[in-house]
């Protein structure tokens, strides 16, 4: 990507236009039960342009990064916008102007490791798991690294460059209980290139030991008792709740699509204990898992406060929806690949910490569950949500009891948030989130633990 000066192409813009050059680089190394099943690298790069004409957009992209290819995508994007405008004739006003400059590069300063060193690193983890836990029925260790490097020029004067990496090791452990498999996955790592995230295989032992102990308890686990229960949702579940059940319902495109949140700005939608923010890049003094400084429309990224002390404050916007609602965009327009157009996305979404201690929250529950790890999650325009839960424990008389089998929790988020009665005083981020709204894209989700009423599935 080096050496391309996008500013040289500004003269080609005939209307509002974004020109973006992007490369996504990935590494994947997988060991399944000692077998090196995947060992690959990929790089996907190219140039795209998006042009705007009276409310109609045109987009074009090419994998080639030659001057001719760049000129060609600008021309084709413009022609696409004109084609659509000629048919639709919306006559909409110009977009809000943004002119910012930014360069944020999270590349490691350390010497880069080669593929053999990475394979050896993953294999050492796999070997150690096999040595320490011979009773496992199966194990998988998967390294995934993603570098996203973007350079953006817009016709209204924004110019930005960013290189945002993430590196993760996923460990899946499985035991057999009464002839049936019981498994538990844990993810390690987050923002940064491999060399900055993982020091040595031994840095994972403590986490993997904790994971194994949870798995052993889960293998003796019981079905949760189905029904509405008082639950303490740990940080990862609170994070996925913030993202799926609240964040999505407050994305302006979904608001225009009928989301229940559309009618509730300024209204009490949650307990006064709840403040929920879509952070741009920094939360409570720490860099977020997916820092965004300038979005893919060239808007400076700022925090968006969605709920403040229980009151719904704002939606998430791109330039077009911000103009529609008469507010300022805060940098939520993001694209995953060079060939993707920016759409309204969350960045790092979480509930702010409260004042309670986790142990006090558990002690306050007479009959309920402490739910720790989510699998996947989905939500709805109605704010009805569902999350898979892969690790949790009974709470009986204020004490943790037996582990539970995999289950699902559900509810109506804006009802459920009104039942929040305690929030822990810490904050953890889930650094491996991917959101699948048209395009998959990395997101951060996080929060403290929350105590609330929720429907839990079971038998």
């Amino acid at each position: 990507m080096g050496g391309l000066d996008l500013k040289a192409y500004a003269g080609l813009f005939k209307t509002y236009t974004e020109l973006r050059v992007q490369e996504n680089r990935t590494i994947q190394i997988s060991f399944v039960k000692g077998n090196n099943t995947v060992n690959l690298r990929s790089a996907t790069s190219g140039v795209s342009a998006r042009a705007y004409q009276n409310g109609s957009w045109g987009f074009a992209s090419s994998p080639e990064l030659t001057p001719d290819a760049i000129a060609s995508v600008v021309k084709e994007a413009t022609e696409n916008a004109l084609f659509l405008d000629s048919r639709e004739r919306k006559g909409k006003a110009p977009l809000p102007v943004a002119a910012v400059s930014s360069d944020n590069d999270f590349s490691t300063k350390k010497p880069r490791l080669g593929q053999k060193e990475l394979v050896d690193f993953v294999r050492q983890i796999d070997d150690e798991i096999a040595r320490r836990y011979p009773g496992l029925a199966s194990r998988s260790v998967i390294l995934r690294c993603l570098d996203m490097e973007k350079t953006l020029l817009t016709s209204d004067g924004s110019y930005s460059h960013s290189m945002i990496p993430r590196s993760q090791i996923h460990v899946m452990l499985s035991v057999e209980k009464d002839g049936a498999p019981v498994e538990l996955m844990e993810s390690y790592g987050g923002l940064g290139q491999f060399e900055d995230v993982f020091e040595s295989p031994s840095s994972l032992w403590e986490g993997i030991e904790r994971q194994y102990q949870h798995l052993m308890k889960k293998s003796e686990g019981v079905f949760a008792e189905a029904g509405v229960k008082t639950c303490v949702l740990d940080a990862e579940l609170a994070g996925i709740l913030a993202h799926e059940a609240i964040g999505h319902t407050c994305e302006a495109d979904l608001v225009m699509g009928g989301s229940v949140a559309g009618d509730w700005i300024g209204k009490q939608v949650a307990s006064p204990l709840v403040t929920l923010v879509d952070f741009a890049n920094t939360a409570l003094g720490q860099t977020c898992p997916v820092p965004v400084y300038v979005d893919d429309e060239g808007t400076r990224a700022e925090d968006a406060v969605i709920i403040e002390k229980g009151v719904l404050k704002s939606f998430l916007h791109n330039k077009e929806s911000a103009r529609h609602f008469g507010v300022q965009p805060k940098g939520n327009a993001r694209a995953f690949l060079f060939s993707d157009e920016p759409i309204i996305r969350m960045r790092n979404t979480g509930i702010l910490p409260g004042t309670s201690k986790l142990e006090d929250m558990i002690a306050s529950v007479d009959d309920g569950y402490y739910l720790i790890k989510p699998s996947n999650g989905q939500a709805d325009l109605t704010s009805e949500f569902m999350f898979g839960v892969t690790l949790g424990y009974e709470i009986r008389g204020g004490k943790l009891g037996r582990a539970i089998k995999d289950t699902t929790i559900s509810g109506v988020a804006f009802d459920m948030l009104k039942t929040v009665s305690m929030i822990s005083n810490d904050m953890k981020w889930l650094g491996h989130g991917m959101c699948g709204k048209k395009q998959n894209i990395p997101v951060g989700m996080g929060g403290p633990a929350i105590k609330c009423q929720v429907t839990i599935g079971g038998r």
């Binding site: 399944v32 077998n35 790069s45 109609s56 499985s174 498994e183 189905a226 995999d406």
Partner: protein
């Protein structure tokens, strides 16, 4: 752009020149034209070109692969060298291999280029029909794209395949709103060969749009009970995903699959027959070449309840000592049953018509639970009302065995053909 056939041959030669004992190169050129609707308005026309070059090298039993999206000789040479370097870094495994030689073949399906005017006309028609017939409906997002893929696969065993596929795909996501009340959103996708038919008449679009407008006002199901669930074609794929996952490489190599010893055993009710038909006429968005470089063939996965094949890759086959699948799975077709949907509904005492399932991933054992979305309560043989906040749970392996009827009617989505399937013994939890 470089000619993709020449790029594939160049890539294969570069891999062998770099020292590979065995090598394979696949080059796919992708051209996509996509019309987007956001919030009921035609918003974006998108034209994208891309190239995928997948280079696989095996040296001394060690395998490496790289994927790049540049097809010029310098980029391909660098990619080939990197694939060799990755192979060198890898662990030797006798199961690493590439497809053996097969007769050269060229496969063609669908149109060569899009009809942009017809794309615009059909999308406009869909929006106008929806507004007219279903005034409370909100079209959240809709995409109509034409994608053409030119694929070339060559390897050092003499494989020489090419495939050209052009297909239209329409996806629509919608909700309905009236007097401040909103339905759950629903959505569907369909693949079609041409634009001869109005989009609303493709797949299950018309039915789902109508149902969504009915789902603004929902009722709760009361209590917890065990009942029948009629799984609509729209979420049958989700329900079959557990079987699909459990008969692939990861589950069988790791030994965690509940079906690891179930070949030729009953894994489902005898009323269920499931096929994978990537090269059949009824599937317009299938595929001709497997990811291993074999010519894809149709297969029967489940024949009247009996598991007939695993979906093992070449690597998975060698690793487990079981037969390689003749395709990559997908393109699923479920045989129609003997009864009509009406008759099936009439046979249900108390249960649900499940149209969308929002659930956690089932565990390796098949236990699942989740929310019945866009679904209906059935009582005394009648569909009573749309529901909300209703969970279902059970075990998918048991559900397959508890299928009691399959409908005569089916929906063709272009990538799958599914009927309605009735399952007994599902736990239903209302309020």
């Amino acid at each position: 752009m470089t000619d993709p056939r020449r790029s594939s041959e160049y890539g294969l030669n570069a891999l062998l020149k770099a020292g590979a004992d065995k090598a394979q190169c696949q080059v796919t050129r992708i051209e996509k034209h996509e019309l987007n609707v956001i919030s009921g308005e035609m918003s974006l026309l998108r034209t994208t070109f891309d190239t995928q070059v997948k280079l696989i090298a095996i040296k001394d039993g060690k395998k490496g692969s790289t994927t790049i999206n540049k097809s010029d000789p310098d980029s391909v040479s660098r990619g080939a060298a990197e694939a060799l370097a990755i192979a060198e870094a890898s662990v030797p495994d006798e199961a690493n291999d590439i497809a053996e030689g097969q007769p050269a073949a060229r496969f063609v399906s669908g149109s060569e280029s899009p009809d942009r005017d017809s794309m615009h006309y059909r999308m406009k028609e869909l929006l106008e029909t929806a507004r007219e017939r279903y005034p409370t409906l909100l079209m959240l997002q809709a995409f109509l794209d034409f994608t053409r893929e030119d694929t070339y696969v060559v390897n050092s065993n003499g494989v020489d395949f090419s495939a050209v596929k052009g297909v239209y795909r329409c996806t629509a996501v919608f909700s309905a709103k009236e007097e401040g009340k909103v339905s759950s959103f629903n959505g569907t996708s369909v693949a079609i060969r041409d634009l001869d038919t109005p989009l609303i008449d493709c797949g299950s679009l018309r039915r789902l749009m109508r149902e969504t407008t009915e789902q603004i006002h929902t009722c709760h199901v009361s209590g917890k009970f065990t009942g029948d669930v009629i799984i609509a074609p729209d979420c049958l794929g989700d329900m079959l995903a557990f079987l699909d996952d459990s008969i692939r490489d990861r589950a069988l190599i790791s030994g965690t699959s509940v079906y690891r010893d179930s070949l030729d055993q009953l894994v489902a009710s005898p009323v269920l027959s499931l096929h994978s038909r990537p090269v059949s006429g009824e599937i317009c968005n299938g595929y001709f070449i497997t990811s291993d470089g074999y010519s894809a063939q149709n297969s029967t996965i489940v024949d009247r309840g009996l598991l007939k094949t695993f979906l093992l890759s070449l690597y998975g086959s060698k690793k487990t000592g079981k037969a390689r699948a003749v395709n990559d799975g997908g393109a699923y077709v479920v045989d129609p049953g003997e009864t009509t949907l009406d008759e099936i509904v009439k046979s249900v005492d108390r249960g649900l018509l499940l149209v969308r399932f929002s659930g956690g991933n089932p565990n390796e054992n098949g236990d699942f639970s989740g929310v019945a979305k866009n679904s209906y309560f059935i009582e005394n043989g009648q569909v009573k009302y749309p529901i909300s906040e209703t969970m279902i749970s059970g075990n998918l392996a048991e559900c397959y065995r508890n299928i009691r009827s399959v409908s005569r009617e089916r929906v063709n989505y272009g990538y799958a053909v599914f009927p309605w399937v009735a399952v007994s013994g599902v736990t239903i939890l209302g309020k």
